[in-house]
Amino acid sequence: MKNAGLRCFLYSINEQIRALAGSHPKSVLTGFKCVQTHSLQDLQQPAVSSKVFVQRDYSSGTICKFQTKFPSELESRMDKQQFEETMQTLNNLYAEAEKIGGKSYLEGFLACLTAYTIFLCMETHYEKVLKKIARYIKDQNEKIYAPRGLLLTDPIERGLRVVEITIFEDRSVGSGR
C-alpha cells in the first residue's frame, strides 16, 4: 500500500513538472532530481505531526520545575498517571541538582579556595545530576514513549525552559505535515 501511495505522489509531481515545463520536461526533471530524492527520503521518515511544550512551573520560585498537568494532545496516546510520574521524577531530579545544603556549601567553599580552577578538572554536582537526568529520559523514551510514537526531548537542549514532546503521526494515516 505504501508503494502505491509513493507512485501516486511521484505521478502528481511529474504532472506538475510537465504542466509547468511545457514541451521539454527532461531538462526540468534533471534539475528537480535532487528535490525528488529529498521528498523520497522525507516520506520514509515518520511524519512529525506536532509538538507539545510543557512549560515551567514557577509557583515555588525560580527553581527548575515543570508543570505536571497532562496535556490534552496526549490524551489519546498515553496514560495520565505515567506522564505525571515522569514529570514528577524529573522535578525531583532537578530539585536534587539545585539543593542548597551541606554538600553544595562544601563544594562552593572548596572551589572558592582554589579560585574556582578546580572546575576545570572536576564535574560539578549539577552536571552529575544532569547526566542522570539524560539517562532517565533516554530510559523513559525507550520503555514508555517510543512504543507510543512519542519522544521526550531533554529540557537542557531547550534551555531548561520547556519539556518538548514530539508526537509522531502513524505513517499509514495520510501524509500530513
Partner: protein
C-alpha cells in the same frame, strides 16, 4: 545520481544569535565591546606590577616577606575572578526554536480571544504566583519566549539573561545567574587589594621618609605616586560597589530590580525570592549550586548544502530549520516589535495560508502533494 552532501564541522557558537564574541573555539564568551575590560586589566596588572617592583622589596626586607606573598595571592585571586566573570556565560537563555515560538503564539492568540481589527491587542504578559505574590512574566519579542522570573533582555548583548543583574562594561560581559558570585568576589577582593596596596604604600612612604626624607623617597620610588592616585580613586568606587552588592545580596535582589524599584517603596517587604533571613539569602546567592550553561556552545552542528536532505538525528533536524527561517511566528505588531520586523510581518500576513505550515515542510511548491494544499485551504475555510 545522489544528492551531494557537503558536511563542514561547525560548532554551535558560530551560529548563535546575539551580539557576543566567542574565543577559544566557543570556550570564552564575552560582549562585543571589550575596550573597557582591557582598561580594567591594564589598571590592575599595571598597579600591581608597580607595587611588586617598588614597594615589595623594601617591605619584604624591613617588615615581613609575608606582605608580598599575600599580595601575590590576592592579585592572582582578583585576576581569576575577573577572568571568570568576563569569560563565562552569564546565564543566557537560548531563543525559542520556530515550533516553540509558534506554540506560544497559538497559546497567546487563544488567550486573547477575538481582538477587533484596528484595536491594539493586549500586552503579552503571563501572571504567575510565587510565594503568594503575583509576578508578571513579560514576553520577549526578540527571543520569542516568556521570560522566566528575574530574567531580562540585555540590549547590548541581545540576549535574555537569567537572573539578570546588569551589563558591566568593566568586565566586558553581562552579570547574571551564573557569574554573579564571581563578580561579587571580584569586587570584594579588588577592594581588599586596593586597600592593601594603598595602606602599604603609605607605610612604605612613611618608613622611607623617616630615613631619607619625603622628597628623596618619591624620587627613588616614582611608582608610588601613580599607585596612590589609582588606588585612591579605585578605592571609593570599589568599596561603594561592594557595599551596594552586599546590601543587594542580603535582600536577595538584583541590580535590575533595585533600579526598577520592583521590591522597594510601596512594594517593600514583598520580594518573593527573599528568605527574609540575611544569612539564608547570602548562602543562596554565594553558596548555591553552580548552574551549568544551557547554551551548548561547543556542540557540533552539521551544515549541509541546501539541496540535500538531513536525516541525522534531532540535533541536525532542528538546525536547518533554525538556519533557514528567521521570523516565522506570525507576530501581531506591537509597540515593542522592532520597526524592521513590522514590514515583514505585513508581508507574511498577506501571503496567506501557506505560512501556517511548519517551516520544516518548506519544500519547493512543486514537491508538495496536491492533497496538502487542499487540506490547508479546507482548514482555513
Amino acid at each position: 545520481m545522489s544528492a551531494v552532501m557537503i558536511t563542514r564541522k561547525v560548532r554551535k557558537w558560530e551560529k548563535l544569535p546575539g551580539k557576543n564574541t566567542f574565543c577559544c573555539d566557543g570556550r570564552v564568551m564575552m560582549a562585543r565591546q571589550k575596550g573597557i575590560f582591557y582598561l580594567t586589566l591594564f589598571l590592575i596588572i599595571g598597579t600591581c606590577s608597580l607595587f611588586f617592583a617598588f614597594e615589595c622589596p623594601y617591605l619584604a626586607v624591613h617588615l615581613s616577606p609575608a606582605i608580598p606573598v599575600f599580595a601575590v595571592l590576592l592579585f592572582l585571586f582578583v585576576i581569576a575572578m575577573l577572568l571568570r566573570t568576563s569569560f563565562s556565560d552569564p546565564g543566557v537563555l537560548p531563543r525559542a526554536l520556530p515550533e516553540e515560538a509558534n506554540f506560544i503564539e497559538m497559546e497567546i492568540e487563544a488567550a486573547n480571544g477575538n481582538v477587533p481589527s484596528g484595536q491594539r491587542p493586549p500586552p503579552r504578559i503571563r501572571n504567575v504566583q510565587i510565594n503568594n505574590q503575583i509576578v508578571k512574566l513579560k514576553y520577549c519579542y526578540t527571543c520569542k519566549i516568556f521570560r522566566p522570573p528575574r530574567a531580562s533582555h540585555c540590549s547590548i548583548c541581545d540576549n535574555c539573561v537569567d537572573r539578570f543583574d546588569h551589563h558591566c562594561p568593566w568586565v566586558g560581559n553581562c552579570v547574571g545567574k551564573r557569574n554573579y558570585r564571581y563578580f561579587y568576589l571580584f569586587t570584594l577582593t579588588l577592594s581588599l587589594l586596593t586597600i592593601y596596596i594603598f595602606a602599604f604604600n603609605i607605610v612604605h612612604v612613611v618608613m622611607r621618609s623617616v630615613d631619607q626624607g619625603f622628597l628623596n623617597t618619591l624620587k627613588e620610588t616614582p611608582g608610588t605616586v601613580l599607585e596612590v592616585l589609582v588606588c585612591f580613586f579605585t578605592l571609593w568606587s570599589m568599596v561603594g560597589l561592594t557595599g551596594f552588592h552586599t546590601y543587594l545580596i542580603s535582600l536577595n535582589q538584583t541590580t535590575n530590580e533595585d533600579i526598577k524599584g520592583s521590591w522597594s517603596g510601596k512594594n517593600r517587604g514583598q520580594n518573593p525570592y527573599s528568605h527574609k533571613n540575611i544569612i539564608k539569602n547570602c548562602c543562596e546567592v554565594l553558596c548555591g549550586p553552580t548552574y551549568p550553561s544551557v547554551l551548548d556552545r561547543r556542540g557540533l552542528m552539521q551544515e549541509d548544502s541546501p539541496a540535500a536532505a538531513n536525516s541525522e538525528g534531532p540535533c541536525s533536524f532542528d538546525n536547518p530549520v533554525a538556519q533557514t527561517t528567521k521570523t516565522t511566528a506570525p507576530l501581531i505588531p506591537n509597540e515593542h516589535t522592532p520597526d524592521d520586523v513590522k514590514p515583514s510581518i505585513a508581508a507574511e500576513k498577506s501571503s496567506g495560508p501557506k505560512d501556517d505550515q511548519p517551516p520544516a515542510a518548506k519544500l519547493p511548491p512543486l514537491a508538495s502533494p496536491e492533497t496538502d494544499a487542499e487540506t490547508s485551504i479546507a482548514k482555513n475555510q
